[in-house]
Amino acid sequence: MKFSHPLATLVAPVLLLILLAAPSVLAFKDEEWRPIDPAHLALKTPVVEKDADAEVIFWEVRIDDGERGELEESHYVRVKIFTERGKELYSKIEIPFFNFTKIKDLAARTIKADGAIIELKKEDIFEQTKVQISGLKLKHKSFAVPGIEPGVIIEYRWREVVDGGGGGRFQLNFQREIPVQNVTYYVKPFSGIYGMRYMPFQVPDSVRFTKDKDGFHKISMSNVPAFREEPRMPPRNQVRPWILIYYSSNVSQSPASYWRNLGQRYHEFFKEWTKVNDDVRKAATQIMGDAATPEQKLDRLLEYCRTKIKNVSDDASGLTPEERKKVKDNKKPSDTLKRGVADGGEINMVFAALASAAGFETRLAFVGDRSDIFFDPSFANASFISPSVIAVRVGSQWRFYSPGYNYVPAGMLRWQQEGQQALLADETEPAWVKTPISAPQLSLEKRTAKLRLDEDGTLEGDVRIEYTGQFAIERKEYNDDESPAEREEILRKIVKNRMDTAEVTNIRVENVQDPAKPFVYEYHIRIPGYAQRTGKRVFLQPAFFHRGIPALFTQSQRQHSIYFHYPWSEEDEVTIELPAGYSLDSPDAPAPFRSEKVSDYKATIGISKDQRTLVYKRSFYFGDNEAILFPPNMYQPLRNYFDRVYKADNHTITLKQGAATAQAPAK
């Protein structure tokens, strides 16, 4: 039985603890409440965060996996309440559990500031089934904390015993929604043939398991601030300190060796799943037709797989769950081609088979999910990556394809899979290759508006917006299982959210389920009071598409890195017919600006030859050179940059009654 960190073989000292068999000690079971430190009772202000409403003094969890067929977790929590809000947060305690789990020895008490103690009575603990279906029950034990008020300490403890549990994966979280003075986990591994391993994330090097008594290993963190969400931050698993605990048959295996074994094993499966026969060869030849270059050939194969094979994994396929279940498995690629119906994985395989038949070298690629965690090959656990991408060699480069996901165009992956280390399965030497992050120009929001401005400030006209790349993938996915009426409603809400007086009619939403074409919105709009009139002037914001959009970053403090999911670009063209009797009064466009190698902003304002129509053009991109993740110390420069974008977008020009138009270049 072993207990190890997978990096242990790479970095000294090795932490490989051979655990001696020891009788299991059921922590807390017979334990009395621990003495209260008078200093904690006297505490008037929080220790970890000055404005905290409540603070955990200690949170201890003992996980005893030592017994076969039973997992036991014991919790002991002590919390200091500082404010009314803290009182509300901790007034009710609920412990949810399934009917295959037992909650034992639940106890709680409140210690008043003067030391008086209010014990929770047994009859004040309620056990109820929250939800029950077909014999499965989610239950809870709950209680109201007696006598809770600011200044008190509350503490509670309980044991959970899971029959048939153990031997699985655990996630030990060190950061919670409130600050914690000390959090400690005690873990006793299962004494079977598999060894327990652990993998730390965002945990300081100094925080390590140490051997404790009775076969337990202990790990603690102190002064952990509360976890808070921030806009545009990396995923939780990328910023919170946590440890993954799992079992492995070979605890001394290095990550490199682990991945090599996995890649070799899966390549065998891959070869089987992508077997080329005459039907596949014939189909490949037919699909590629007169395509000349390797890229053209692959694009045609991809288009065929996305458009000619019904993807039953797609939630918008029109199939009910029942119908989906009835769809037979395709045993080989020729079955998929013949039936024309397959799930996403089978479509990936048929694409690989077709490419192989066309003479390309193909590989099954395992890729992580950037919306969950930024994968690192040192995470030697297969649950972090999935075999969802096909790699095809073109020249000296590997190109990545995701035909099993309909909306992903050639040359791209879903953003979650871009910029990730991909493991290419191989019979001899599996390799790591980084998937590229698609350039800003591939994810374009292209907006055009032809509008007319009335003398009273009402703006009216027609709008068209096209989305490509990641924008299109997201919008198609969001809209594809909605009805046409609901799609219209989604758009109406988007528009009214930024201009609440807008009247939106004649809405058309196009290409929602088309794998290749851009996602398109078209609509007619009328906005009373868009421009502001004074006695002799009208003030107009020509950046129509940015009216009412708030600044991107508004808060002064930043804790986490700033993270954009993908690079993007925007192209706007707005034409506005001016009201009769009015003309532009020395219109000036905001000056262009850029952030070297990352972003660029340009806006121009012109006037038609007849001086009646204003032409506003704007182009913007962000995230060039794969710059989508910025450390917290870049927050202020980024905020300043986007404030500048906001200012430029809110640039106002003046129309004057009867005045001659000046300076604006004719278009």
């Binding site: 404005d51 905290a52 409403d53 809000r85 509300e88 007034s91 009710k92 949810p96 399934f98 309620f126 109820q128 089934t129 939800v131 029950q132 279906i133 077909s134 499965l136 989610l138 709950s142 109201a144 007696p146 809770i148 008020e149 655990f170 996630q171 979280n173 009910t320 769950p321 029942e322 299982d481 009805s483 609901e486 409603e489 009214k496 609440d500 007086t501 807008a502 009071g529 502001q532 004074t534 006695g535 002037r537 003030f539 708030p550 600044a551 508004t554 808060q555 002064s556 403090q557 009064d585 020395s586 000036d588 300043n640 404030d643 906001y646 200012k647 809110n650 640039h651 106002t652 003046t654």
Partner: protein, 657 residues
């Protein structure tokens, strides 16, 4: 615990997904309902109820058996949400004996849902203890536009009262809605119809049937009355023949005094002080000089107790009975009736009399005078008998009991002397034995709920501003500020204020956020300081253009639809905004908007601009009264708020001298 909640989702899906029998026949009633041809509705209508019916049978032993049948045609993808059968019950007082459902596909295929697909859950999973449970069948994942979903259920209960309710429709259009009450012979029923002309029953022996057909959809609209005040609903009372032995087993009410007597019996025995309560009350009121001060001291203490609702034995009437004052005091928590009871008990110890008041929280127009029933209420507040010395906006007068100060001991954002806005003007029952009465709750004036915002602005020649804002809120406006302040941690609150400021002044750097909550006085003050570099836009190097209304809209009501179906409901509020802008050196006002004044029966609005001593002073004032405006006057309301918006958006132009 994360892995556990994920595991639960997985297990729930897996458990709910066994292969379902396909090819069953739908029952006759569902096939008949499915054959109905509804009229064409607006494309936004997600579903149409083809048939909804309850047949309620009262046994001679007082047990009610209810059979519910329901059929809905799904018209759009959003209508899938209506493919769900839900029946609630109280543990120990009732049960759902059976619930079955069917889904008919457009090709006629029928899918049947039986007991293996029934989910049984707590009505409110967040409660510590809840005797209300629901059995449900969820077919939303299988359903789609064009399908028909139907269910039938049978349940039993021992009712507390001989009173029933029936709502003829939800927002969905409904082709047939029927309620049948079958009573033992010689029993009688009577009914009252709300939100619709009287619906008379068809009577056959002792069976009564009420029915409405072809009810149109109730379209959601902003500032509309709640659907319970739009959908036709029925209140039914039944009773045995005079002198019958069954009469003793039934509880029905002919008037509000009877309801008061019944409720008094539940409340009064619980309001017994013990020594600890007496001691605490004396301690709390030791420094109080006036009657009002004493009430405030006790009221504040009770409001600060944690709100926890634990009702054991709801089916036996315990949902209407508070825990004893001694229990609530010992645990320092309770629900609304516990808090009201504890407060009146504490006041009793200092010789101040108080009464419970039962009310409907959330809609001041819900309670109807013509139906004397405790089931119209969902909340308990308190009426404190006060002398002439106590003056407050929430004092009402009872013909016999005199002056009564109305107070909500549960809403800890609203102090003594004020009342939550959704309770103001509501009909509520004073629980005072024979003196009990349905009374109209007080309404405070718009000015008593004022937000007074004063801003001092220094503007530079490049358009940068340095701003000091002081928000002074009173009444329910202060309660709003307080509610937000208490719901967020301090960093979250500061972040929220920064975001709000940035919405008015982009790029603002906030240097001070100082909230001061004076709960007892019903005031909340928020002082903010910030700078914003680019507030005014410099044009042609000679003009500075800016909006003096830095913090946009006073009222977010946006009425853009050309047509209106329902009345417009407005709440009382008042807003006063004064912005004093020190003009940058070398600039004078070139243009500023005209003053504006709008006056209507439901509110007034004015905006003024004045240049004096190098300052531009902009003011705007809104007084909005509590009102329900008929749909015919929609244009007036729409124009009022549109006019307000123009003033809020209007720019001022400065020019370089």
């Amino acid at each position: 615990m994360l892995y556990r909640s994920l595991l639960f989702c997985f297990l729930l899906i897996a458990a709910a997904a066994p292969a379902l029998a396909v090819g069953d026949d739908a029952p006759d009633w569902l096939q008949q309902a499915a054959a109905a041809k509804p009229p064409a509705y607006d494309k936004d209508v997600p579903a149409v109820v083809l048939h909804q019916e309850q047949v309620v049978k009262l046994d001679s032993d007082g047990r009610l058996t209810t059979t519910t049948t329901y059929a809905v045609r799904i018209l759009t993808r959003e209508g899938r949400a209506y493919a769900e059968a839900v029946e609630t019950y109280l543990t120990n007082a009732g049960k759902v004996k059976e619930i079955r459902a069917w889904l008919i596909r457009p090709n006629g295929e029928v899918k049947k849902y039986g007991k293996d697909q029934v989910i049984d859950r707590m009505c409110n999973p967040l409660d510590i203890y809840d005797e209300c449970r629901a059995k449900l069948i969820d077919a939303t994942l299988d359903a789609d536009a064009g399908m028909i979903f139907g269910y039938q259920s049978s349940s039993e209960e021992q009712p507390l009262f001989s009173q029933e309710r029936w709502v003829f429709q939800s927002r969905l259009p409904t082709l047939v809605s029927r309620y049948t009450l079958s009573l033992p012979s010689n029993w009688q029923a009577s009914s009252i119809t709300f939100n619709h002309p009287n619906v008379a029953p068809v009577v056959s022996g002792s069976t009564y049937t009420w029915e409405l057909r072809n009810l149109p959809p109730i379209v959601p609209e902003s500032a509309s009355p709640v659907v319970t005040n739009l959908a036709p609903r029925l209140a039914v009372k039944y009773s045995p023949a005079e002198g019958s032995s069954a009469q003793a087993r039934t509880r029905s009410f002919d008037n509000w005094v009877e309801v008061s007597r019944w409720a008094t019996e539940l409340h009064d025995p619980q309001a017994v002080p013990n020594e600890a309560i007496i001691a605490k009350t004396l301690q709390l009121t030791a420094g109080a000089k006036t009657e009002l001060d004493k009430i405030r001291a006790v009221g504040r203490f009770v409001q600060e107790l944690q709100y926890i609702s634990i009702d054991v034995g709801v089916g036996r009437g315990n949902g209407f009975r508070p825990h004893s004052a001694a229990q609530a005091f010992a645990k320092l928590y309770g629900d609304c009736k516990d808090k009201a009871n504890l407060m009146r008990t504490m006041l009793k110890t200092i010789n101040i009399t108080a009464y419970p008041v039962v009310i409907f929280s959330g809609d001041r127009t819900f309670v109807r005078e013509e139906w004397a029933s405790p089931t119209q209420f969902n909340h308990v507040i308190i009426a404190v008998k006060v002398s002439d010395e106590t003056q407050a906006a929430t004092v009402i007068t009872h013909p016999k009991l005199g002056r009564l100060l109305i107070f909500d001991a549960t809403d800890d954002n609203t102090p003594v002397g004020d009342l939550p806005d959704h309770e103001q003007g509501s009909l509520a029952l004073l629980v005072a034995g024979d003196d009990g009465a349905l009374m109209r709750m007080p309404i405070t004036s718009p000015e008593a709920n004022l937000l007074d915002r004063q801003s001092e602005v220094m503007m530079d020649a490049d358009g940068a501003i340095t701003v000091t804002v002081s928000d002074r809120a009173v009444g329910q406006k202060a309660a709003d500020f307080r509610r937000v302040f208490r719901s967020l941690s301090r960093p979250e609150y500061t972040g929220m204020i920064e975001t709000w400021v940035a919405r008015g002044a982009n790029g603002a750097k906030v240097s001070k956020v100082n909230p001061t909550d004076s709960h007892t006085e019903g005031r909340f003050v928020l002082d903010i300081e910030f700078t914003a570099r680019n507030y005014a836009q410099l044009m042609q190097d000679k003009l500075l253009v800016f909006r003096p209304a830095i913090f946009g809209q006073m009222r977010t009501l946006s009425l853009t639809e050309a047509k209106r179906n329902h009345p417009i409901v407005l709440e009382a509020e008042a807003y006063k905004d004064t912005v004093r802008i020190k003009l940058p050196a070398g600039f004078v006002v070139d243009e500023m908007p005209d003053a504006m004044k709008l006056e209507t029966s439901f509110g007034t609005f004015s905006a003024t601009y004045e240049v004096k001593d190098g300052y531009l002073v902009f003011t705007r004032n809104l007084i909005q009264r509590t009102a329900t405006i008929p749909v015919e006057d929609y244009a007036k309301v729409k124009n009022f708020y549109a006019g307000m918006r123009v003033a809020e958006q209007a720019p001022v132009v400065l020019v370089k001298k």
